[in-house]
Symmetry: C2
Subunit: 302 residues, 2 copies
């Protein structure tokens, strides 16, 4: 089955203690799509500018990624620049040029509207709503968001939350969204807004899954060499929802395996700048790291 | 078998967003001993003042804790006061009155010198050395430390590290001790100083175990109600080393179970102020939380 994924494609300029890159293809949807395409077909809905041609699109070619929904608009592609601190745990946005993304109105090709898994990338909640309005059938709807929307469009965000099954945000966003510091209480509050399932990512500390059946704690893979955390959360989402599409289930065991694959994909992402590690990643490496996370967390009964 | 444990017993004054307590019995050795005594006999070596009488000592009575090594000195007992931030992740020390602890010279009763597990609590590395000098036989030596000693007595600390098997410090201390940010590289560097096994605690994010055989990631139990994190790391150590003494092994599977019991004991500690939760804790509750951590981290192969 396939994933319908909507979000941003961009040119990223990134500086970390380990190097820098300028105007590489990025954007949260790019990371999501590359990660998810290891598990499922991905139908992309996005907008790019005149500066985004075959040279850029080739990052998606030869993968299970359909580009029919990528609109080409007059103007320049979304550009973002950021710089990371020495420990990679905090970053400063150097610039954000929305360009053609500012006028983005998702328009789903007819063939995308019978969807299996829908993923609403991090963008204005009204755009997320508009995507859902165009979808005729779907099995699972997931979404991402960020503090900007929690603070500036709380009502619109709550309306989207009421229509989705799974939300993936970071733990500080869970707390801000709920207005409660304790993560367990905050997660319960967010689940009360609509999504039965909540993923709280915690960077290099892993991620937590909250479902009606309980809580699951997924470890982060302890990397020996980190280069650039940009896109790690999007790759987590790509691995997670890609596996849900592949396995055609959302039972507890499937959600937990999906969490581990999310952690696996996020960890690979950090090993090189931008999408570079994902571009040369193999399914054998993914499976090996899944087993490594099993080994990392395995312990016996008393 | 038993644990020989040396460290500080104190009166603590603690303020958190959830309440405050004044002059309750605390100190890292107190937490360690209460936690470890669920699994093993504990021989305590510490000093208290004239203000520490039967009313205070009763916290240890009726447990597997031997007090022969607790010296009563002229003067007042060590006092510490601290206040926690709203999220409990940072704290400010309000006062530290070393009192009789300033002149502490550990003097081991003869019967303590044939030891099985030795635990050197967080104190000046020369005091830790002096304990080891008095011990005639031992199977496992563990230690704690803190940034104060990493910064002010690096040579003495390195000398102790060269004589121990297992060191338990928090992840930021691992990084500071190694002078390397990446936790995996930092852990390898610290292991190179002597201890084959390293535990890096990470507060509400759990703890990591580094051995010559690999890495283990232990989750933290996601608490719904937190009251006071004071002593959580000491309770972790108590659960960990208590179980090593009980099980008479340090193989990989035992170390991993010990990590989970450390996490269990630390989580209970945070549920109430000071040692209050530990005082009413039962082994059935400990076993139930161990199973809860198993459930929290369990996932199937792909």
């Amino acid at each position: 089955m396939s994933i319908l994924a909507v979000g941003s494609v961009a040119f990223d300029t990134i500086k970390t203690p380990f190097g820098e890159v300028t105007d590489i293809v990025g954007g949260s949807l790019t990371y999501f799509a590359l990660a998810a395409s290891f598990f499922s077909d991905v139908n992309l809905v996005a907008v790019v500018g005149e500066d985004f041609g075959e040279d850029q699109l080739k990052i998606f070619r030869g993968r299970r990624i359909d580009l029919k929904g990528v609109a080409h608009a007059n103007g320049k592609t979304f550009r973002w620049g950021g710089e990371y601190s020495l420990n990679l745990n905090s970053r400063e946005t150097l610039f954000t040029e929305l360009n053609v993304f500012e006028g983005f109105q998702p328009d789903l090709p007819e063939s995308y509207r019978q969807a299996d898994v829908v993923f609403l990338g991090n963008m204005h909640p009204l755009l997320q709503q508009s995507v859902l309005d165009q979808v005729k059938t779907r099995r699972v709807v997931g979404m991402d968001s960020m503090n900007l929307w929690i603070e500036t469009t709380p009502t619109e965000l709550r309306n989207v939350l009421g229509r989705v099954d799974i939300v993936k945000i970071d733990d500080s966003e869970v707390r801000d969204l709920a207005g409660v510091y304790n993560l367990r209480k905050a997660a319960a509050a967010v689940q009360g807004f609509g999504p039965r399932t909540l993923i709280a990512t915690r960077g290099s500390h892993g991620a937590m899954l909250f479902t009606p059946n309980g809580i699951f704690s997924a470890p982060a893979y302890p990397l020996e060499d980190e280069a650039d955390p940009t896109g790690a959360g999007d790759c987590f989402a790509g691995g997670f929802f890609g596996y849900l599409a592949q396995s055609q289930s959302t039972d507890e065991a499937t959600l937990r395996r999906a969490m581990i694959l999310g952690s696996v994909m996020g960890s690979f992402c950090v090993e090189d700048f931008g999408t570079h590690r994902l571009e040369r990643l193999t399914i054998d490496e993914i499976n090996a790291r899944y087993r490594a996370l099993k080994q990392l967390t395995d312990f016996e009964d008393l």
